[in-house]
Symmetry: C2
Subunit: 343 residues, 2 copies
């Protein structure tokens, strides 16, 4: 079957071996898979990511990943059941499903993305774990169900922040993660939600997803915009850019006693001035991923129309279009989420 794989630092499309489902596993046909900013990050920082993961002790040490072999990616997907493995209870063939991107094997839990052995969402077919399948409800389009994963990231970060009604939010960066945070804040009736991004198109998306104000930080820093539209409620700042300097900038700008949630993933060394955070007694919550309940909640919110993901989808490609789509995503003003439809 066809798959887009990371080979020697480049994305290439090639034939790869068809996977065969074992006990507890289900073979599915990928219907739609979002391209995630993490994938672009990973392409750029793969060796550093592997090195840093290796430095983390214990269960977080990360999978052993061999960058000299092909690497499978694509972890935001919806798929259609083809067949279950031996002695495995699964929904009937043709059922549209999504799943957290992990596969349970006899050798342990494998992430479906950034692994050498199991095709993920940029492949025509892949294996999922039967107990983790979530049926896509309400006739929801698989293209929309594929956005369950990024929306779950936003829902998780907002849950982690502990933000309550009556508090204000500032979202720095309106890429897919920042937009998911905006949508999740809106679900909780947070007001005002102020968003900041250089790109006019992304600011427009932030407004569509629920931001009450969206500003260009070169013209008006996000915190100033919050002061203008509110300035009284306790502020929670969501850092959703993930490049060096953003954490320090949030420390510098955040009002005294506020909370900073770091949901952007900065893979590089970063410089901070602890003094700013100390003098203001900031609380900083680092957030990653989601739990199964949040993942299922994201799917439900999309299916029930509480989150409209339609405007997030700015492009669709086949597997052959994946390498070019990665290049297009370097221009944030043209795109938010590009979907791969391997079929």
């Amino acid at each position: 079957m066809r798959a887009a794989v990371l080979r020697s630092g480049n994305l290439v499309v090639d034939d790869v071996e068809d996977p065969a489902p074992g006990f507890g596993q289900v073979l599915v046909r990928t219907l739609a898979c979002g391209i995630c900013g993490s994938d672009l990050h990973f392409m750029r920082h793969a060796s550093r990511m592997v090195e840093l993961s290796g430095q983390l002790a214990g269960p977080l040490a990360g999978p052993s990943l061999d960058l000299s072999r092909d690497v499978f990616m694509g972890h935001e997907f919806a798929a259609e059941v083809i067949e279950a493995g031996p002695d495995t209870v699964a929904p009937p063939a043709g059922t549209v499903v999504t799943s957290m991107p992990v596969l349970v094997t006899f050798d342990g839990i494998v992430p479906l993305a950034y692994n050498n052995d199991f095709p993920a969402g940029y492949a025509e077919r892949m294996l999922l774990s039967a107990p983790m399948l979530l049926e896509v409800p309400n006739g929801l389009l698989p293209q929309h169900a594929a956005l369950t994963e990024p929306m779950a990231v936003g829902i998780h970060a907002v849950a982690r922040s502990g933000i309550r009604a009556g508090e204000a939010a500032l979202v720095l960066g309106c890429g897919p993660v920042g937009l998911a945070v905006v949508a999740a804040l809106r679900l909780r009736d947070v007001e005002p939600i102020v968003a900041a991004d250089f790109s006019p198109a992304r600011r427009e998306l932030a407004r569509t997803l629920g931001a009450h104000e969206a500003v260009d930080p070169r013209e008006e820093p996000g915190v100033e915009a919050w002061r203008r539209v509110d300035g009284r409620r306790t502020l929670v700042v969501f850092e959703a850019v993930g490049v060096p300097g953003m954490i320090d900038s949030a420390f510098r700008d955040a009002p005294p006693g506020s909370r900073v949630v770091v949901v952007g993933v900065c893979m590089e060394e970063d410089v901070i001035q602890p003094f700013f955070a100390i003098a203001k007694e900031l609380n900083v919550q680092f957030a990653l991923a989601y739990d199964p309940t949040e993942f299922a909640g994201a799917l439900r919110s999309i299916a029930e129309g509480e989150i409209d993901v339609t405007p997030l989808i700015t492009g669709t490609v086949g597997i052959d279009g994946v390498p070019a789509a990665f290049e297009d995503l370097a221009h944030p003003d043209a795109h938010a989420k590009i979907l791969v439809e391997p079929g």
Copy 2:
């Protein structure tokens, strides 16, 4: 009167003008004043501290401090009332008092330390605000009451951490701040409390103040010691060293999902790897100072014998001895807290 002042980067002892109490103010005779690590930090980083304070907007902008003029320091004190200002209700002369180190004036609130105009604890006499005076109870020695301020820093950091019974604590650094954190943790019956410091004398002090285990991090990293003696409870890590690299080291070592409380004041730029904090979803609470309730609580805990500060006092000098005492404090193994007795 005599005072030790910071002049052109050096501590010198000289005659300064006697202060006269205005409305709401009380003239007091300084009985004892602790030398704080912040004062040593300040001597080393004064211009940087002034520059960074200037970058903080609004009410946190800090006092305008002129480093070309004499700077008064000494903010951990007990004193004896001499006389109240006009129309001011105050305890009678001879009453032993302590106070949060701030003075209310018609021009605003002045910190009693790091200001150009109002002598602080390294002077024979100073002004305090009548409404802020706390009488030293139970015949407590002024030398012990002077440690109210550093103990309040520990009580505040522990309160900020939200640590609960059933959670474990690791305290990195057993200078006066780290030791105050240990004492405050013991007050809350936290167990185990693991402390880490290079200095054998400071490790011994940590044990005296309530640490269940104290290790040399060159021989056994603090987190490893926690694993050895407990390893099961949720861990709260208190960073009480305040030099570059410590925050990143705490990020690297802290177990997944743990909380890091930064109570050491690092005045320099610092490099972190956000990836470690993100992958483990750490929560980082920066803590500074205390509130009036915590300050009064610290005095009460010392007076009632819940915290025995006696072993912390490793030296006593007169005003003339302040410059030499600052140099002695550069050798952490010889000293914890040196008291100045200006009388």
